[in-house]
Protein backbone atom coordinates (compact mmCIF):
# COMPACT_ATOMS: atom_id res chain seq x y z
CA UNK A 1 0.00 0.00 0.00
CA UNK A 2 1.28 3.49 -0.88
CA UNK A 3 2.20 5.40 2.20
CA UNK A 4 0.88 8.94 2.38
CA UNK A 5 3.16 11.18 4.38
CA UNK A 6 0.79 14.15 4.21
CA UNK A 7 -2.87 14.12 3.54
CA UNK A 8 -4.20 15.63 0.28
CA UNK A 9 -5.64 19.13 0.33
CA UNK A 10 -9.02 20.22 -0.92
CA UNK A 11 -8.19 23.64 -2.31
CA UNK A 12 -4.82 25.35 -2.46
CA UNK A 13 -1.28 24.83 -3.71
CA UNK A 14 1.18 21.94 -3.64
CA UNK A 15 4.84 22.74 -4.10
CA UNK A 16 6.69 19.54 -4.91
CA UNK A 17 10.27 18.59 -5.86
CA UNK A 18 11.79 21.21 -3.60
CA UNK A 19 15.51 20.64 -3.04
CA UNK A 20 15.79 18.54 0.16
CA UNK A 21 16.16 20.68 3.25
CA UNK A 22 14.89 23.88 1.60
CA UNK A 23 11.21 23.67 2.57
CA UNK A 24 11.51 25.77 5.72
CA UNK A 25 13.24 28.52 3.77
CA UNK A 26 10.53 28.47 1.12
CA UNK A 27 7.86 28.65 3.79
CA UNK A 28 9.55 31.55 5.51
CA UNK A 29 9.97 33.48 2.25
CA UNK A 30 6.28 32.93 1.45
CA UNK A 31 5.40 34.63 4.71
CA UNK A 32 3.94 31.50 6.31
CA UNK A 33 2.41 31.38 8.89
CA UNK A 34 0.21 34.29 7.87
CA UNK A 35 -1.42 36.31 10.61
CA UNK A 36 -5.14 35.47 11.02
CA UNK A 37 -4.93 32.41 8.80
CA UNK A 38 -5.85 29.00 10.18
CA UNK A 39 -5.60 27.10 6.91
CA UNK A 40 -3.58 23.92 7.05
CA UNK A 41 0.03 24.01 5.91
CA UNK A 42 1.82 20.66 5.63
CA UNK A 43 5.56 20.42 5.26
CA UNK A 44 7.38 17.19 4.46
CA UNK A 45 11.13 17.14 4.37
CA UNK A 46 13.51 14.50 3.03
CA UNK A 47 10.80 12.49 1.31
CA UNK A 48 12.25 9.69 -0.83
CA UNK A 49 12.08 10.56 -4.51
CA UNK A 50 12.88 8.48 -7.57
CA UNK A 51 14.35 11.39 -9.52
CA UNK A 52 15.92 13.48 -6.80
CA UNK A 53 16.89 10.95 -4.15
CA UNK A 54 15.18 13.09 -1.56
CA UNK A 55 12.86 16.06 -1.86
CA UNK A 56 10.74 18.40 0.22
CA UNK A 57 7.02 19.02 -0.28
CA UNK A 58 4.78 21.85 0.95
CA UNK A 59 0.99 21.82 0.81
CA UNK A 60 -0.81 25.05 1.54
CA UNK A 61 -4.56 24.98 1.98
CA UNK A 62 -6.67 27.87 0.60
CA UNK A 63 -3.89 29.78 -1.05
CA UNK A 64 -2.75 30.44 -4.61
CA UNK A 65 0.72 31.81 -5.21
CA UNK A 66 1.32 35.18 -6.78
CA UNK A 67 3.78 35.54 -9.66
CA UNK A 68 6.28 37.18 -7.33
CA UNK A 69 6.09 34.19 -4.98
CA UNK A 70 6.57 31.71 -7.82
CA UNK A 71 9.65 33.71 -8.87
CA UNK A 72 11.05 33.51 -5.35
CA UNK A 73 10.54 29.73 -5.31
CA UNK A 74 12.25 29.39 -8.69
CA UNK A 75 15.34 31.14 -7.33
CA UNK A 76 15.82 28.93 -4.29
CA UNK A 77 14.27 25.70 -5.56
CA UNK A 78 14.76 25.77 -9.34
CA UNK A 79 13.48 22.20 -9.81
CA UNK A 80 10.22 22.72 -7.93
CA UNK A 81 6.83 22.02 -9.46
CA UNK A 82 3.65 23.76 -8.45
CA UNK A 83 0.13 22.30 -8.60
CA UNK A 84 -3.04 24.25 -8.00
CA UNK A 85 -5.75 22.15 -6.40
CA UNK A 86 -9.47 22.80 -6.61
CA UNK A 87 -12.09 20.48 -5.12
CA UNK A 88 -9.36 17.89 -4.54
CA UNK A 89 -8.41 17.85 -8.23
CA UNK A 90 -5.33 19.26 -9.90
CA UNK A 91 -6.43 22.09 -12.18
CA UNK A 92 -2.98 23.36 -13.13
CA UNK A 93 0.49 21.92 -12.76
CA UNK A 94 3.88 23.00 -13.97
CA UNK A 95 7.52 23.37 -13.13
CA UNK A 96 8.82 26.72 -12.06
CA UNK A 97 10.87 28.57 -14.66
CA UNK A 98 13.74 30.85 -13.79
CA UNK A 99 12.90 34.38 -14.87
CA UNK A 100 15.59 36.30 -16.80
CA UNK A 101 15.15 39.43 -14.69
CA UNK A 102 13.58 39.85 -11.26
CA UNK A 103 12.23 43.17 -10.08
CA UNK A 104 11.65 44.26 -6.49
CA UNK A 105 12.24 40.83 -4.96
CA UNK A 106 15.81 41.06 -3.69
CA UNK A 107 18.04 43.66 -2.14
CA UNK A 108 21.50 44.40 -3.53
CA UNK A 109 24.29 43.18 -1.27
CA UNK A 110 26.45 46.19 -2.17
CA UNK A 111 25.80 48.74 0.60
CA UNK A 112 26.99 51.51 -1.73
CA UNK A 113 24.54 50.57 -4.50
CA UNK A 114 22.16 53.43 -5.34
CA UNK A 115 19.19 51.05 -4.88
CA UNK A 116 20.06 50.87 -1.16
CA UNK A 117 19.59 54.63 -0.84
CA UNK A 118 16.31 56.43 -0.53
CA UNK A 119 15.52 56.55 -4.25
CA UNK A 120 12.13 55.88 -5.89
CA UNK A 121 13.26 52.77 -7.72
CA UNK A 122 12.79 49.02 -7.41
CA UNK A 123 15.78 46.71 -7.51
CA UNK A 124 16.41 44.75 -10.69
CA UNK A 125 18.62 41.72 -11.10
CA UNK A 126 19.61 39.57 -14.03
CA UNK A 127 19.26 35.90 -13.03
CA UNK A 128 22.41 33.93 -13.81
CA UNK A 129 21.60 30.27 -14.22
CA UNK A 130 24.82 28.38 -13.60
CA UNK A 131 25.75 25.57 -11.22
CA UNK A 132 24.16 27.75 -8.56
CA UNK A 133 21.62 30.44 -9.29
CA UNK A 134 23.11 33.91 -8.77
CA UNK A 135 21.84 37.43 -9.28
CA UNK A 136 23.61 40.37 -10.93
CA UNK A 137 22.41 43.83 -9.94
CA UNK A 138 21.40 45.73 -13.06
CA UNK A 139 22.35 49.00 -11.39
CA UNK A 140 25.78 48.37 -9.87
CA UNK A 141 26.77 45.00 -11.43
CA UNK A 142 27.37 43.37 -8.03
CA UNK A 143 26.91 39.58 -8.07
CA UNK A 144 24.67 38.44 -5.24
CA UNK A 145 25.63 34.92 -4.16
CA UNK A 146 23.42 34.51 -1.11
CA UNK A 147 19.97 34.80 -2.65
CA UNK A 148 18.05 33.83 0.49
CA UNK A 149 19.77 36.60 2.44
CA UNK A 150 19.03 39.09 -0.36
CA UNK A 151 15.31 38.38 -0.76
CA UNK A 152 13.28 41.21 0.72
Amino acid sequence: MKELKITPIKNGTVIDHIEPGMAMKVVRLLGIPEADSHSTVSIAMFVKSGKMGYKDIIKIEDRELKKREVNIISLIAPNASIAIIKDEGVIKKGRVALPKVITGIARCSNPNCITNKDEPVETEFAVINGKEVKLRCLFCDRIVNDIIEAIV
Binding site: N112, C113, I114, C140, D141
Partner: protein, 309 residues
Protein backbone atom coordinates in the same frame (compact mmCIF):
# COMPACT_ATOMS: atom_id res chain seq x y z
CA UNK B 1 24.03 51.22 -32.06
CA UNK B 2 21.93 54.29 -32.62
CA UNK B 3 23.70 56.86 -30.49
CA UNK B 4 21.09 59.60 -30.71
CA UNK B 5 19.37 59.79 -27.32
CA UNK B 6 21.46 56.91 -25.94
CA UNK B 7 22.73 56.88 -22.36
CA UNK B 8 26.40 56.02 -21.94
CA UNK B 9 26.49 54.17 -18.63
CA UNK B 10 29.08 51.42 -19.11
CA UNK B 11 31.75 50.79 -21.74
CA UNK B 12 30.72 47.14 -21.67
CA UNK B 13 27.51 48.04 -23.46
CA UNK B 14 29.43 49.37 -26.45
CA UNK B 15 30.45 46.84 -29.05
CA UNK B 16 33.67 47.10 -30.99
CA UNK B 17 32.03 48.82 -33.94
CA UNK B 18 30.59 51.49 -31.61
CA UNK B 19 33.95 52.07 -29.95
CA UNK B 20 35.78 52.33 -33.28
CA UNK B 21 33.19 54.84 -34.48
CA UNK B 22 33.59 57.00 -31.35
CA UNK B 23 37.39 56.88 -31.70
CA UNK B 24 37.20 57.85 -35.41
CA UNK B 25 35.06 60.88 -34.56
CA UNK B 26 37.37 61.73 -31.64
CA UNK B 27 40.28 61.76 -34.11
CA UNK B 28 38.40 64.33 -36.20
CA UNK B 29 37.81 66.46 -33.10
CA UNK B 30 41.48 66.81 -32.17
CA UNK B 31 42.13 70.11 -34.02
CA UNK B 32 39.02 71.61 -32.36
CA UNK B 33 40.10 70.30 -28.95
CA UNK B 34 43.47 71.94 -29.45
CA UNK B 35 41.84 75.24 -30.39
CA UNK B 36 43.34 75.13 -33.89
CA UNK B 37 39.92 75.03 -35.50
CA UNK B 38 36.70 76.57 -34.25
CA UNK B 39 33.36 74.83 -34.17
CA UNK B 40 29.75 75.74 -33.56
CA UNK B 41 28.53 72.16 -33.64
CA UNK B 42 26.82 72.42 -30.23
CA UNK B 43 25.72 76.05 -30.56
CA UNK B 44 22.56 76.66 -28.57
CA UNK B 45 22.95 73.40 -26.64
CA UNK B 46 23.38 73.13 -22.89
CA UNK B 47 25.31 70.43 -21.06
CA UNK B 48 24.50 69.84 -17.37
CA UNK B 49 27.54 68.78 -15.36
CA UNK B 50 26.35 67.28 -12.09
CA UNK B 51 29.41 66.44 -10.00
CA UNK B 52 28.42 65.01 -6.63
CA UNK B 53 32.04 64.39 -5.78
CA UNK B 54 35.23 66.18 -6.71
CA UNK B 55 36.93 65.58 -10.03
CA UNK B 56 39.43 67.75 -11.85
CA UNK B 57 40.23 66.18 -15.19
CA UNK B 58 36.86 64.66 -15.98
CA UNK B 59 34.83 67.77 -15.21
CA UNK B 60 37.20 70.24 -16.84
CA UNK B 61 37.56 68.13 -19.96
CA UNK B 62 33.77 67.83 -20.37
CA UNK B 63 33.45 71.58 -19.90
CA UNK B 64 36.30 72.25 -22.33
CA UNK B 65 34.64 69.87 -24.83
CA UNK B 66 31.25 71.62 -24.79
CA UNK B 67 32.80 75.12 -24.85
CA UNK B 68 35.08 74.27 -27.78
CA UNK B 69 32.02 73.00 -29.66
CA UNK B 70 30.21 76.30 -29.13
CA UNK B 71 27.79 75.07 -26.45
CA UNK B 72 27.40 76.03 -22.82
CA UNK B 73 27.26 74.22 -19.53
CA UNK B 74 25.56 74.58 -16.18
CA UNK B 75 25.76 72.52 -13.04
CA UNK B 76 27.82 72.09 -9.91
CA UNK B 77 31.22 70.78 -8.93
CA UNK B 78 30.19 70.03 -5.36
CA UNK B 79 26.66 69.28 -4.08
CA UNK B 80 27.04 71.65 -1.10
CA UNK B 81 24.64 74.58 -1.53
CA UNK B 82 22.24 72.57 -3.75
CA UNK B 83 18.92 70.90 -2.80
CA UNK B 84 20.83 67.64 -2.58
CA UNK B 85 21.99 68.80 0.83
CA UNK B 86 18.31 69.22 1.78
CA UNK B 87 17.80 65.53 1.06
CA UNK B 88 16.54 65.67 -2.53
CA UNK B 89 16.70 62.29 -4.24
CA UNK B 90 19.02 61.80 -7.18
CA UNK B 91 15.94 60.93 -9.25
CA UNK B 92 14.45 64.39 -8.62
CA UNK B 93 17.74 66.19 -9.28
CA UNK B 94 17.98 64.37 -12.61
CA UNK B 95 14.37 65.14 -13.59
CA UNK B 96 15.09 68.82 -12.94
CA UNK B 97 18.45 68.88 -14.77
CA UNK B 98 16.94 67.05 -17.70
CA UNK B 99 14.36 69.84 -18.04
CA UNK B 100 17.12 72.46 -18.13
CA UNK B 101 19.62 70.88 -20.52
CA UNK B 102 20.22 68.81 -23.64
CA UNK B 103 22.38 66.23 -21.95
CA UNK B 104 23.64 65.36 -18.49
CA UNK B 105 27.09 64.35 -17.33
CA UNK B 106 26.96 62.71 -13.90
CA UNK B 107 29.67 61.92 -11.36
CA UNK B 108 28.25 60.37 -8.21
CA UNK B 109 29.73 58.43 -5.27
CA UNK B 110 27.20 55.59 -5.40
CA UNK B 111 27.48 52.61 -7.74
CA UNK B 112 24.52 52.32 -10.11
CA UNK B 113 23.72 56.04 -9.91
CA UNK B 114 24.19 56.61 -13.64
CA UNK B 115 21.86 53.71 -14.45
CA UNK B 116 19.28 55.19 -12.11
CA UNK B 117 19.73 58.63 -13.69
CA UNK B 118 19.14 57.15 -17.14
CA UNK B 119 15.72 55.93 -15.95
CA UNK B 120 14.59 59.39 -14.88
CA UNK B 121 16.13 61.58 -17.57
CA UNK B 122 14.49 62.71 -20.79
CA UNK B 123 17.89 63.65 -22.20
CA UNK B 124 20.99 61.46 -22.63
CA UNK B 125 23.08 60.74 -19.52
CA UNK B 126 26.83 60.19 -19.72
CA UNK B 127 28.35 58.42 -16.72
CA UNK B 128 31.43 60.30 -15.54
CA UNK B 129 32.11 57.79 -12.75
CA UNK B 130 29.70 56.09 -10.33
CA UNK B 131 31.55 55.22 -7.13
CA UNK B 132 33.70 52.15 -7.62
CA UNK B 133 31.58 51.28 -10.67
CA UNK B 134 31.93 52.40 -14.27
CA UNK B 135 33.72 55.29 -15.94
CA UNK B 136 33.17 54.71 -19.66
CA UNK B 137 34.66 57.94 -20.99
CA UNK B 138 37.95 57.11 -19.22
CA UNK B 139 38.00 53.76 -21.01
CA UNK B 140 37.31 55.37 -24.37
CA UNK B 141 40.06 57.96 -23.93
CA UNK B 142 42.44 55.19 -22.85
CA UNK B 143 41.66 53.32 -26.06
CA UNK B 144 42.09 56.49 -28.13
CA UNK B 145 45.50 57.03 -26.51
CA UNK B 146 46.63 53.48 -27.30
CA UNK B 147 45.38 53.75 -30.88
CA UNK B 148 46.94 57.15 -31.58
CA UNK B 149 50.21 56.71 -29.70
CA UNK B 150 51.00 53.15 -30.80
CA UNK B 151 49.11 53.12 -34.11
CA UNK B 152 46.60 50.37 -33.29
CA UNK B 153 44.96 48.37 -30.49
CA UNK B 154 44.81 44.91 -32.09
CA UNK B 155 47.85 42.81 -31.34
CA UNK B 156 49.26 45.22 -28.78
CA UNK B 157 50.84 43.85 -25.62
CA UNK B 158 49.40 45.78 -22.72
CA UNK B 159 50.66 45.56 -19.14
CA UNK B 160 48.21 46.79 -16.50
CA UNK B 161 50.20 47.65 -13.39
CA UNK B 162 49.44 48.50 -9.77
CA UNK B 163 46.14 48.25 -7.93
CA UNK B 164 44.14 45.95 -10.19
CA UNK B 165 41.79 44.84 -7.43
CA UNK B 166 40.09 48.12 -6.61
CA UNK B 167 40.94 50.19 -9.71
CA UNK B 168 37.76 50.67 -11.74
CA UNK B 169 39.64 52.05 -14.77
CA UNK B 170 41.60 48.84 -15.23
CA UNK B 171 38.50 46.64 -14.90
CA UNK B 172 36.66 48.59 -17.52
CA UNK B 173 39.71 48.77 -19.80
CA UNK B 174 40.16 45.00 -19.51
CA UNK B 175 36.61 44.40 -20.77
CA UNK B 176 37.14 46.85 -23.62
CA UNK B 177 40.48 45.31 -24.63
CA UNK B 178 38.76 41.91 -24.69
CA UNK B 179 36.91 43.20 -27.76
CA UNK B 180 40.25 43.71 -29.51
CA UNK B 181 42.94 41.18 -30.19
CA UNK B 182 45.14 42.63 -27.45
CA UNK B 183 47.38 40.66 -25.14
CA UNK B 184 46.92 41.72 -21.51
CA UNK B 185 49.33 41.09 -18.62
CA UNK B 186 48.23 41.91 -15.08
CA UNK B 187 51.20 43.09 -13.02
CA UNK B 188 50.32 43.47 -9.35
CA UNK B 189 51.17 42.27 -5.85
CA UNK B 190 49.14 39.14 -5.01
CA UNK B 191 46.83 41.08 -2.67
CA UNK B 192 45.91 43.57 -5.41
CA UNK B 193 45.62 41.22 -8.41
CA UNK B 194 42.70 41.40 -10.83
CA UNK B 195 39.53 40.01 -9.16
CA UNK B 196 38.47 36.61 -10.47
CA UNK B 197 35.00 37.82 -11.51
CA UNK B 198 36.55 40.45 -13.81
CA UNK B 199 39.07 37.94 -15.14
CA UNK B 200 36.41 35.27 -15.77
CA UNK B 201 34.12 37.65 -17.62
CA UNK B 202 36.98 39.09 -19.69
CA UNK B 203 38.11 35.59 -20.66
CA UNK B 204 34.55 34.66 -21.60
CA UNK B 205 34.62 37.73 -23.84
CA UNK B 206 37.75 36.34 -25.49
CA UNK B 207 40.52 38.26 -23.70
CA UNK B 208 44.06 36.87 -23.80
CA UNK B 209 45.44 37.39 -20.30
CA UNK B 210 48.33 36.40 -18.07
CA UNK B 211 49.71 37.48 -14.73
CA UNK B 212 53.12 38.75 -13.71
CA UNK B 213 54.45 39.84 -10.34
CA UNK B 214 57.20 42.29 -11.34
CA UNK B 215 57.62 45.08 -13.86
CA UNK B 216 60.95 43.58 -15.00
CA UNK B 217 59.08 40.57 -16.40
CA UNK B 218 57.06 42.72 -18.80
CA UNK B 219 59.02 45.91 -19.51
CA UNK B 220 60.99 44.66 -22.52
CA UNK B 221 57.99 43.19 -24.29
CA UNK B 222 55.11 45.60 -23.56
CA UNK B 223 53.75 48.12 -26.07
CA UNK B 224 51.74 49.85 -23.34
CA UNK B 225 52.54 50.06 -19.64
CA UNK B 226 49.36 51.28 -17.95
CA UNK B 227 50.18 52.28 -14.38
CA UNK B 228 47.66 52.86 -11.58
CA UNK B 229 48.12 54.22 -8.11
CA UNK B 230 48.52 51.84 -5.19
CA UNK B 231 46.85 53.38 -2.18
CA UNK B 232 48.58 53.33 1.17
CA UNK B 233 45.35 52.46 3.00
CA UNK B 234 45.19 49.08 1.23
CA UNK B 235 48.12 47.89 3.36
CA UNK B 236 48.24 47.03 7.06
CA UNK B 237 51.41 49.03 7.72
CA UNK B 238 53.60 51.68 6.12
CA UNK B 239 56.60 49.35 5.67
CA UNK B 240 54.54 46.82 3.73
CA UNK B 241 53.16 49.57 1.50
CA UNK B 242 56.61 51.03 0.84
CA UNK B 243 57.97 47.65 -0.19
CA UNK B 244 55.20 47.17 -2.75
CA UNK B 245 55.26 50.81 -3.94
CA UNK B 246 58.99 50.49 -4.73
CA UNK B 247 58.52 47.26 -6.70
CA UNK B 248 55.79 48.75 -8.91
CA UNK B 249 57.43 52.09 -9.58
CA UNK B 250 58.20 53.07 -13.16
CA UNK B 251 61.30 55.20 -13.72
CA UNK B 252 63.62 56.13 -16.57
CA UNK B 253 66.16 53.45 -15.58
CA UNK B 254 63.54 50.71 -15.87
CA UNK B 255 62.42 52.05 -19.25
CA UNK B 256 65.92 51.67 -20.69
CA UNK B 257 64.86 48.07 -21.24
CA UNK B 258 61.56 49.07 -22.89
CA UNK B 259 60.74 48.60 -26.58
CA UNK B 260 61.13 51.54 -28.92
CA UNK B 261 57.69 53.06 -29.41
CA UNK B 262 56.31 51.73 -26.13
CA UNK B 263 54.20 54.12 -24.04
CA UNK B 264 53.52 54.65 -20.35
CA UNK B 265 49.94 55.59 -19.45
CA UNK B 266 48.28 56.59 -16.17
CA UNK B 267 44.69 57.73 -15.47
CA UNK B 268 46.16 60.41 -13.11
CA UNK B 269 46.57 61.77 -10.52
CA UNK B 270 49.88 60.00 -10.07
CA UNK B 271 51.71 60.14 -6.80
CA UNK B 272 54.95 58.15 -6.61
CA UNK B 273 54.28 55.33 -9.05
CA UNK B 274 55.78 57.14 -12.05
CA UNK B 275 59.00 58.98 -11.34
CA UNK B 276 59.10 62.53 -12.74
CA UNK B 277 62.24 61.49 -14.65
CA UNK B 278 59.91 59.62 -17.05
CA UNK B 279 58.08 62.83 -18.03
CA UNK B 280 60.77 63.94 -20.46
CA UNK B 281 61.23 60.53 -22.09
CA UNK B 282 59.43 59.58 -25.33
CA UNK B 283 57.57 56.90 -23.34
CA UNK B 284 55.51 59.36 -21.30
CA UNK B 285 51.97 59.40 -22.74
CA UNK B 286 49.97 60.26 -19.61
CA UNK B 287 49.58 63.98 -20.23
CA UNK B 288 48.56 63.35 -23.84
CA UNK B 289 46.14 60.76 -22.45
CA UNK B 290 44.56 63.45 -20.25
CA UNK B 291 44.24 65.70 -23.32
CA UNK B 292 42.56 62.92 -25.34
CA UNK B 293 39.72 63.13 -22.83
CA UNK B 294 38.55 66.30 -24.57
CA UNK B 295 38.15 65.01 -28.16
CA UNK B 296 36.72 61.72 -26.86
CA UNK B 297 34.06 63.55 -24.86
CA UNK B 298 33.37 65.89 -27.79
CA UNK B 299 32.63 62.87 -29.97
CA UNK B 300 30.29 61.38 -27.38
CA UNK B 301 28.51 64.69 -26.73
CA UNK B 302 27.92 65.09 -30.47
CA UNK B 303 26.74 61.50 -30.94
CA UNK B 304 24.24 61.25 -28.09
CA UNK B 305 22.66 64.62 -28.88
CA UNK B 306 22.28 63.57 -32.51
CA UNK B 307 24.44 66.43 -33.78
CA UNK B 308 26.96 63.87 -35.06
CA UNK B 309 26.12 60.55 -36.62
Amino acid sequence: MNFKGAHIVSARELDREDIDHILDLADDMIPIARGEKSSSLMKGKILATLFFEPSTRTRLSFESAILRLGGRFLGFADPGGTSVKKGETLADTIRMASAYSDLIVLRHPQEGSARLASRFSDVPVINAGDGAGQHPTQTLLDLLTIRRETGKIDGRKIALVGDLKYGRTVHSLTYALAKYDADITFVAPPSLQMPSEVLDLAQQMGAKTQRASTLEEVVSDADVIYVTRIQRERFPDAAEYQKVADVFKVNAALLEKAKKGAIVMHPLPRVHEIDPDVDETPYAAYFKQAFYGVPTRMALIGLVTGVLE
